[in-house]
Amino acid sequence: MKAGIVVFPGINRERDMAIALETSSGVKPRMIWHKETDLSGLDLVVLPGGFSYGDYLRCGAMAARSPVMGAIRAHAERGGFILGVCNGFQILTEAGLLPGALLRNASLRFLSMDCHLRVERSDTVFTARYQKQRTFRAVMAHGDGNYFADTAALDRLEGEGLVAFRYASETGDVTPVTNRNGSARSIAGIYSPNLRVLGMMPHPEDLVDPLMGCADGKPLFDALVGAA
């Protein structure tokens, strides 16, 4: 799988993402400057975490309107894979590639801590190496991760099986306590209808090396790079 990582001004987890992809694939991903418009040859486009444009106005708002987004939209329409993590997820919703929006955390504070994500389905290219309904550990680091969509949109997501992950306890219980940022229905990640675009708030890419005490994020990248 040929992967590229989009670099928007202010993005800051593009290096983490590159390390994670390289750890799984052995190949350095292509770094895509936000003004580039040719993504041909890429199977996977990653929108990494960080603070594109300082998170000013709304997180992801300005990045979602940058030149590269046209090509990303076309890539999505071609059925290409897209992974948006944290700010990348916010950019995907701002660009309308995924439904809903990410609001300020309910606590109004930045949340930096580990969380457990319950895998809602394991038959996608992203989650093939996880087990359905089991959890894995990921790093939360965001101020605006509170997923919002109106009831109809939420019902549709659920009905079509497009919820990727929910915030849960280690054993998989989804409760208000595990839903630290206040997301609607504890949603931590969602898919596009063709299951090829995934947006998620927590960072699997920061836990891919056992030296960090946990490599729970690695199966996601292993599955992805093995898929195509």
Partner: protein, 80 residues
């Protein structure tokens, strides 16, 4: 010509910031405070000198960037 764009969360979208402000006002001893909503205001200096056109321009900016209409509504006013 100055355009003022006011962006508020739509009704039905949770506004934790408004809620927190309401709570904090209560803690400070202010009584009789009902619902509190927090929003954004963006002041733009425009070269455009025709107020009608300036308003249309600012509305376009709001639609394209300044507001996310999934969650927010906006209002534009023109000030001299």
């Amino acid at each position: 010509m100055k355009a003022i764009v006011t962006v508020m969360l739509k009704n039905g979208v949770l506004d934790p910031q408004g809620k927190a402000i309401g709570h904090a006002l209560g803690t400070l001893g202010f009584t009789g405070v009902g619902m509190v909503r927090a929003g954004k205001i963006i002041e733009l200096e425009l070269a455009q000198t025709d107020p009608v056109k300036a308003k249309a321009e600012a509305e376009d900016m709001a639609r394209k960037l300044l507001a996310n209409t999934v969650i927010e509504s906006f209002q534009v006013s023109i000030d001299g």
